[in-house]
């Protein structure tokens, strides 16, 4: 018997197995969004949905999920812009410092990313309450910036570190100031690094739940993950609406993963710290 086709078959099975493991639980869940109430709670369960739009309508009209979605877009979007901006400045600065200093600083920053959130939330909550910033966007965005900065700084410091300093020197010789060199020459070249940092920051801020739960207790300002976690029906768990909201929250992330898979893989493995 020939060995090669057998090997190929085994490999193909492994690939299919990995894809099924990753996708099937999620598909089984979000398919509920397209079912009717009787189909969702059918015993034994019914796998195929009848593609009813009822749960989406109910999620939008009765549970007003667009309100959560808008809050998520504002919080995650602003966090991404601020983090990438501050991270780019810091990453560039670190890449141009003497090694001894930049190494020490990067290690301390990495340590910050490892801290358990529970160890910082008490004081952050008191601080925000003192400022009157509980239940505000900035009260959520500022801690998010702090939590996402370590990864962004690492990605960007490594990126700028690999960039030859001659490019800058040339710009300086041409009469640019250092800041002009940064804005006009360095930033355009470093678009890929900035983009990687932006994707990972956005995913983190979009998904974050623990701080969002504590800092924003007013439903008007809550983000999508909090909405999904706290969805309450009158008598039963509103699975269809939860699935619809989950699908709407996850769709942008799935699109990002499909489009930018390569950047995410390189960004995460280069940073080797949590996104």
């Amino acid at each position: 018997m020939n060995v090669r086709p057998l090997k190929k078959l085994g490999f193909g099975m492994a690939v299919l197995g990995a894809a099924a493991f990753s996708l099937i639980p999620f598909l089984l869940f979000v398919s509920s969004a397209f079912k009717t109430q009787t189909e969702v709670t059918a015993i034994p369960p019914q796998i195929w949905p009848s593609f009813s739009p009822a749960f989406f309508r109910s999620a939008i009209v009765r549970y007003d999920i667009f309100k959560y979605l808008v809050n998520s877009v504002i919080v995650a979007g602003t966090t991404t812009v601020v983090t990438v901006f501050l991270g780019a400045l810091a990453g560039y600065g670190l890449a141009r410092l003497p090694r001894r200093w930049s190494h020490l600083t990067l290690m301390v920053i990495l340590a910050c990313a490892m801290f358990p959130q529970i160890a910082i939330v008490g004081p952050i909550w008191r601080f925000l309450r003192h400022l009157g910033w509980l239940n505000t966007y900035q009260g959520l965005i500022l801690p998010y910036v702090a939590l996402t900065l370590p990864l962004a700084i690492w990605i960007l410091a490594l990126f700028f570190g690999q960039m030859p300093e001659e490019i800058e020197s040339a710009a300086l010789v041409d009469g640019c100031t250092r800041l002009q060199a940064l804005v006009r020459v360095i930033v355009p070249i470093s678009a890929p690094g900035l983009f990687t940092a932006a994707i990972l920051t956005f995913i983190y801020a979009w998904n974050e739940f623990f701080l969002a739960l504590l800092i924003v207790t007013d439903p008007v300002r809550q983000t999508m993950p909090v909405g999904i976690a706290l969805f309450q029906g009158e008598h039963t768990v509103p699975w269809g609406e939860i699935a619809a909201a989950s699908l709407i929250t996850t769709a942008p992330l799935v699109i990002m993963v499909l489009l930018f898979q390569r950047r995410i893989v390189s960004g995460l493995s280069a940073g080797a710290i949590k996104g």
């Binding site: 999620f26 369960p45 358990p116």
Partner: protein, 295 residues
């Protein structure tokens, strides 16, 4: 000229450092100070008397806290163990060149990318005692055999562990993949010429060379598993009978549900100290490896 250049660097770094100091550094230190006081949020008239190590003494004799500690240890060790094995297998798979590798990588990344809250609701639904797919997959139409997974202490913990393995194995795979990518292809070619089979190539080339990456993945996953909160909060609220009451959830309940800010801070500082030791080892390893390469 050089000094001036460094001054600019310091100016550029300082805004980011300021944010980190205000929202991470200072809160950690303040947590330690809070943990030495008796603070009840709902009773501000009690003031905040200094109680020294009183909160820690109480914590030491708190049966629920001790139970939480062991639940967390079981959670951390089992999830990390299975995530590393699955992560290694996934990494070996997505490292191979084959048509459709990009699509497979994207598929594998999806559990990592979706919000933990969504995956928690997903597993809560799949583990449902009446209309959940897990019961259906195991028992088919034999409705009388259906198991209430999330209502039995041992099974509920297993369910939360499974949910975490599903969610984060792909992240472990990425960390291990980074290790696989630096192994020169020539080594495998030479071994093949010498007639080494798949298994021998794995044990004599891949295994020794990816051990550093595995260690990084192990440390990172351990640290991260200690911080589990979302899954337990959504799937079980820590129940049944505190079976999934992990430390971060217990700390949250004490601080924000019961309002014992001081006692809760003692829990959070304890979690912090446990993680700190691991984090220092991790930071030294990752830091040295990465910075030697690129800066």
């Amino acid at each position: 000229m050089i000094a001036k250049q460094h001054r600019l660097s310091v100016v550029l770094i300082s805004p980011a450092l300021l944010v980190l100091v205000v929202f991470i550094g200072a809160p950690v230190i303040q947590s330690v100070s809070l943990s030495l006081h008796r603070i009840v949020i709902s009773l501000p008239q009690l003031q905040t008397p200094f109680v020294g190590l009183g909160n820690y003494q109480e914590l030491f004799h708190d049966a629920v806290a001790r139970h939480s500690f062991w639940v967390t240890i079981v959670f951390v060790s089992t999830t990390t163990f299975f995530e590393l094995i699955l992560g290694l297998l996934l990494a070996l798979l997505i490292h191979r060149h084959f048509p459709g590798r990009g699509s497979l990588r994207a598929c594998v990344l999806i559990p990592w990318a979706i919000p933990t809250v969504v995956s928690a609701q997903m597993w809560r639904f799949l583990f449902n005692d009446a209309y959940g797919m897990i019961n259906y997959a195991i028992f088919g139409n034999g409705v009388t055999h259906y198991v209430p997974w999330l209502a039995e202490p041992g099974l509920a913990l297993c369910a939360v562990i499974l949910a975490d393995i599903w969610k984060t194995s792909s992240f472990a795979a990425l960390l291990i993949l980074a290790g696989l990518q630096i192994i020169p292809e020539e080594l495998y070619q030479a071994a093949r010429v010498d007639g080494a089979g798949l298994w021998r190539r794995f044990w004599h080339i891949t295994w020794p060379l990816i051990r550093p990456a595995l260690l990084v993945a192990l440390l990172f996953r351990t640290i991260d598993a200690f911080r589990v909160f979302d899954l337990a909060f959504v799937m079980t609220q820590g129940g049944p009978a505190d079976a999934t009451n992990v430390l971060q959830l217990y700390g949250y309940k004490k601080m924000f549900i019961e309002g014992w800010m001081g006692y809760g801070s003692a829990i959070s500082v304890s979690v912090f100290v446990m993680i700190l030791v691991l984090a220092i080892v991790y930071v030294r390893m990752v830091g040295r490896r990465l910075l030697e390469k690129s800066l």
